[in-house]
């Protein structure tokens, strides 16, 4: 049973007042739309990534580093990482909204956002390191 609907003797606030609550937050469109748009963008990006990994399987480390150093590849990788973790944050927020209620909701949301941001940052820096690494083949 959810709290509002329980016939609690200590709550005499009218049902209409509870239904109206604090009113509309005047937000939600952006979250909903970005969740969908990032999902759509991730379809080609993920497909591209899987194909590239299959192609690179068995290559030497030098070849992979060189592959990651090409601007096209590093741009695609960066887009993939940023959108993946952005989408992950939006999706996990929805799950927290569904399953975590009351006081733990805010700390759970903040923890999720912080962890997602740090993992995403780690991925982005890894890609940047590849992108900006001096080509070993050229110097060799």
């Amino acid at each position: 049973m959810n709290a509002t609907h329980m016939p609690r003797m200590d709550v005499m606030r009218s049902q209409l007042s509870r239904a109206r609550g604090l009113g509309s937050a005047k937000t939600g469109v952006n979250h909903w739309w970005m969740e969908r748009m990032s999902a759509v963008a991730l379809v080609p990006l993920s497909g591209w990534f899987v194909l590239q990994v299959m192609r690179l399987a068995g290559s030497s480390q030098e070849d992979v580093v060189e592959w990651g150093g090409k601007p096209t590849n590093s741009s695609m990788l960066l887009a993939l990482m940023v959108l993946t973790f952005y989408h992950m944050q939006l999706g996990l927020q929805v799950i927290i909204d569904d399953y975590v209620h009351g006081k733990p909701h805010l700390p759970a949301s903040l923890l999720m956002k912080g962890v997602t941001f740090l993992i995403g940052l780690f991925a982005v820096i890894a890609v940047l390191k590849l992108a900006l690494a001096p080509s070993r083949k050229a110097s060799a």
Partner: protein, 260 residues
């Protein structure tokens, strides 16, 4: 946090068995949720064995027979017995529907009957829908127009404008959809639920209404509207064959349309 099990005082026990009269040939078993707020005990499922040859074809016929001839303490709501009042909404064979529109023969095994899910129970099959009614009231389900109506006639609509209300005006507010929605179970204190959102869109789509913007403002909320996860139980369960999920999708489209 989310609750994964029923609280102790809600665990359902086994109840009494009311056997059919000796000699009855066409017997079907009805397992019905019973809870009485006055006796302080947990809910139970009572079993009634009913001779189908003696009653009409619908689940409501069986319930009325039980109340009249077997066990007068059984409590449920009913009125029109033809699917237009919405009173006999309950969970039959695992699906929310109207007892008066649900043929007994559609249920293969014993007929399990429970009140609408996840609402406080008043008694037996009667749920407390006051919260859901207040949510409906909160979206102001009436025409709001600043233009005065013609002095000598009603407000007029083209045939096309009127057709936009089809699939929405038929809603009888039985709340089968709202109480079938997991999002409503989780966030029913803030999520408005499919029945109320269908009613909201009915007024947004009405060509005579002049407050669509204010209506969209009031719905633009992460939970009031966007707690809809497109689970589609609402459309699946609607005993009138309506599509509340589509109405919710239309509201989301309009919210987006005015932003981009």
């Amino acid at each position: 946090m989310v609750e994964f099990s029923l609280p102790k005082n809600s665990t359902v026990g086994k109840g009494r068995i009311f056997p059919a009269a000796p000699g009855a040939k066409n017997v079907k078993s009805f397992g019905i949720y019973r809870w009485n707020p006055d006796d302080g005990s947990n809910p139970v499922v009572d079993t009634y064995e009913i001779d189908l040859d003696k009653i009409g074809p619908m689940v409501l016929d069986a319930l009325i027979h039980i109340k009249n001839d077997v066990d007068p303490t059984l409590t449920f709501r009913r009125s029109c017995r033809e699917g237009i009042c919405g009173s006999c909404a309950m969970n039959i064979d695992g699906e929310n529907t109207l007892a008066c529109l649900k043929p007994i023969k559609d249920v293969k095994a014993a007929v399990a009957i429970y009140p609408l899910p996840h609402m406080p129970v008043v008694k037996d099959l009667v749920p407390d829908l006051n919260g859901a009614y207040a949510q409906l009231r909160s979206i102001e389900p009436w025409m709001k127009s600043d233009t005065a109506p013609p002095p000598d006639s009603e407000r007029r609509q083209s045939i096309e404008e009127r057709a936009k209300l089809d699939g929405m005006w038929e809603c009888i507010l039985c709340f089968c959809c709202t109480t079938s929605c997991p999002s409503y179970w989780w966030n029913g204190d803030r999520y408005l639920g499919p029945a109320t959102l269908l009613a909201a869109y009915r007024w947004i789509a009405d060509s005579r209404d002049e407050h669509a913007g204010e209506r969209l403002d009031a719905l633009e909320d992460p939970l009031k509207l966007y707690a809809c996860r497109t689970i589609m139980n609402c459309t699946q369960t609607c005993p009138k064959g309506l599509n509340p999920a589509k109405a919710i999708a239309r509201i989301k489209e309009l919210q987006l349309e005015r932003k981009i």
